[in-house]
């Protein structure tokens, strides 16, 4: 078990290193960052001076190693646009995205998994068919479109919920959170629902697919033959057996939610990191882009790691095999 953990940590480090190189080359090597920093009409001298000041005249590998050693010291550089350290900028926007993401993913799991198990347990019932039809809708309809419809229905037509912004916030551990105030919660409801929609569909479909397969298995036949009630079979055996793919997806969805937050935050003017990255991409603020992508990669790798460890808790076969 311990060797496995160490192995995984080493793997994660290598992946982060490769990722940083790819991200760096991808973001810095394509196009010319100097065009963003200075206007096209400045003199050649100023141009060369600026290039030298940002180290852009050095070979790419040297720029990369300078970048890498700075990153290891927690320095991602300064944002071209905001003029403040990138790390500080991202950390100040992170809580807004975090609370939105957690609300969306947890909400989706709490509704989606029971709905999916039911749809897989009684695949021919009318309710199951309705659940599946809805889930296909949630799966197919682009996030931004659902956001538009939510705004139009609840903010423009019914006028019961705000169309954008974070609302009032309250401080906890020195960080401002929206979910602590009623007004903040009302601002959070629409964007969280928007973000949850896709995940809800995904969880439902996974739970259904898993349940349909497990219901045909010998485990369930024998459990029923042993006289267990249907409820016990579902809870003790089916839920257990389908939980591994669900945990994987639950984890991975946290990372992908960071990506979809880009769309949701843009529509609802939610001041999180998604809105930040869109603004940075549009203004080609490269340090912010690099730091953001590294952050997403880091979060993803960490989540993968945690998911991997959860398998051991869920699947006794793995524990025996590795011990």
């Amino acid at each position: 078990m311990l060797t496995h953990v160490i192995e995984r940590i080493l793997q994660a480090l290598v992946v982060m290193l490769v990722m940083s190189a790819l991200v760096f080359v991808g973001v810095y090597a394509i196009g010319n960052p100097i065009d963003v920093l200075i206007g096209p009409d400045v003199s050649q001298d100023i141009r060369l001076e600026t290039i030298a000041r940002y180290g852009l005249d050095r070979p790419l590998w040297e720029q990369y190693f300078t970048f890498l050693s700075r990153v290891l010291h927690g320095d991602f550089g300064r944002s071209f646009v905001f003029g403040m350290p990138v790390l500080e900028l991202i950390l100040s926007r992170l809580p807004a995205t975090l609370e939105l993401t957690v609300a969306a993913v947890v909400g989706a799991a709490l509704i989606g998994i029971p709905a999916g198990i039911y749809a897989g347990y009684r695949p021919d019932s009318a309710l199951a068919k309705a659940i599946m039809a809805l889930s296909i809708l949630g799966f197919s309809v682009p996030t931004f479109w659902i956001g538009l419809v939510l705004i139009m229905t609840f903010a423009v037509e019914l006028q019961i919920l705000p169309a954008g912004g974070r609302g009032d916030t309250a401080a906890l551990f020195g960080i401002e959170w929206s979910f602590l105030t009623a007004n903040g919660l009302s601002h959070m409801l629409l964007p969280a629902a928007n973000l949850a929609f896709f995940k809800l569909a995904l969880m439902t479909r996974l739970a259904r697919a898993g349940t349909r397969e497990v219901m045909l298995s010998d485990t369930v036949k024998f459990a029923r033959a042993a006289g267990l009630s249907e409820w016990t079979v579902l809870r003790r055996h089916v839920l257990r057996l389908i939980s591994i793919p669900l945990v994987t997806v639950f984890g991975l969805e946290f990372a992908s939610t960071l990506a979809f937050a880009v769309v949701t935050e843009t529509i609802f003017s939610w001041p999180g990191i998604g809105k930040l990255i869109i603004d940075s991409i549009q203004s080609l603020d490269r340090p912010v882009m690099v730091a953001y992508l590294m952050l997403v990669a880091f979060v993803f790798i960490m989540i993968n790691f945690v998911v991997d460890l959860t398998y051991f808790a869920l699947d006794p076969r793995l524990r025996k095999g590795r011990a």
Partner: protein, 293 residues
């Protein structure tokens, strides 16, 4: 003419049993049809700026414009007839989705099957890179690539294909790895046939069923992704609007109650994506051997 017991005929017979899937297929065919025939059906050429009149801008559905015909779905902020714009937008969206999907398919399948065939270090390397890429959500990747490449059709297709090929590579790799160990492949390899021919003529056809499922889903995804990028303002230029750019153009007018500019292109987009996914869903259930007992 299909023989009664041919695999295709059996597949179709099973497909026909699901009324939803057949209806969805009909919708897909109809939408592709009207998109192809857009220049004949549309009352206006929305790409021809000379034909647009600003006095017709943002009119509600049913308005009779200066062109003398009724705008059944209203007009947008540039005075475009929305019905025409949707038909042309459908054309562009489909074109983007299909071309990007085809490129992603070709690149991904080649990589995945080659990796499975080569084995060893080269396989491990290729698949690691692909796993690494799958770590990044497709939308983010496409967003960054298209932002760096700039606006335009070719750039957008490159971004979409780059974001999606990895899914094909994964599927092709796992299918081909399973086939690689089977006896018929060993048998074919023991003949003087060149290895390349064994890979493409024997392994590839047997990997197709799961790949077809992925392909339908990915074309729908590419269309949705394109719409999302255009909505976020990094996709296609306004002069040649896809469904996504039409929705984006209408977004700012929605809060003032001019719902039609965004809503109708959106409905067309959703109809298209949902229909493709419903077809894909049925195909998936049919090729999943685990559900056949």
């Amino acid at each position: 003419m299909m023989r009664k017991d041919s695999p295709a005929a059996r597949f179709w017979a099973e497909f026909r049993e699901s009324r939803i899937a057949v209806a969805a297929l009909a919708v897909v065919v109809a939408l592709v049809g009207v998109a192809l025939l857009a220049p004949l059906i549309a009352p206006q050429d929305p790409h021809d700026l000379a034909k647009l009149a600003l006095m017709d801008a943002r009119r509600p559905p049913g308005y009779v414009g200066s062109g003398g015909y009724t705008h059944w779905l209203g007009t947008d902020a540039q005075g475009r007839d929305l019905f025409s714009a949707i038909l042309y937008g459908l054309r562009i969206s489909l074109q983007m989705g299909l071309v990007a999907g085809a490129i992603a398919f070709a690149v991904g399948v080649t990589l995945g099957i080659s990796a499975a065939y080569l084995g060893g270090r080269r396989e491990a390397f290729i698949m690691r890179v692909i796993d690494l890429q799958l770590a990044f959500p497709a939308i983010l990747l496409a967003l960054v690539i298209s932002a760096l490449l700039g606006q335009g059709k070719a750039q957008l297709i490159a971004a979409l294909a780059a974001a999606q090929y990895a899914y094909f590579a994964r599927t092709a790799h796992s299918a081909a790895s399973a086939e690689r160990g089977k006896d018929y492949v060993e048998a074919a390899l023991s003949t003087p046939l060149p290895a390349r021919q064994v890979v493409w003529r024997h392994i590839l056809p047997n990997c197709l069923p799961p790949l077809i499922v992925v392909a339908t889903v990915q074309v729908a995804n590419a269309i949705a992704l394109e719409a999302t990028l255009s909505f976020l303002g990094v996709g296609l230029p306004v002069t040649e609007p896809s469904l996504g750019s039409l929705i984006a153009n209408g977004f700012q007018y929605m809060l003032s109650g001019r719902y039609w500019i965004s809503i109708y292109p959106g409905l067309a987009l959703i109809l298209l994506i949902v229909a493709i996914n419903l077809v894909g869903d049925q195909v998936r259930d049919q090729v999943n051997p685990r559900l056949k007992r």
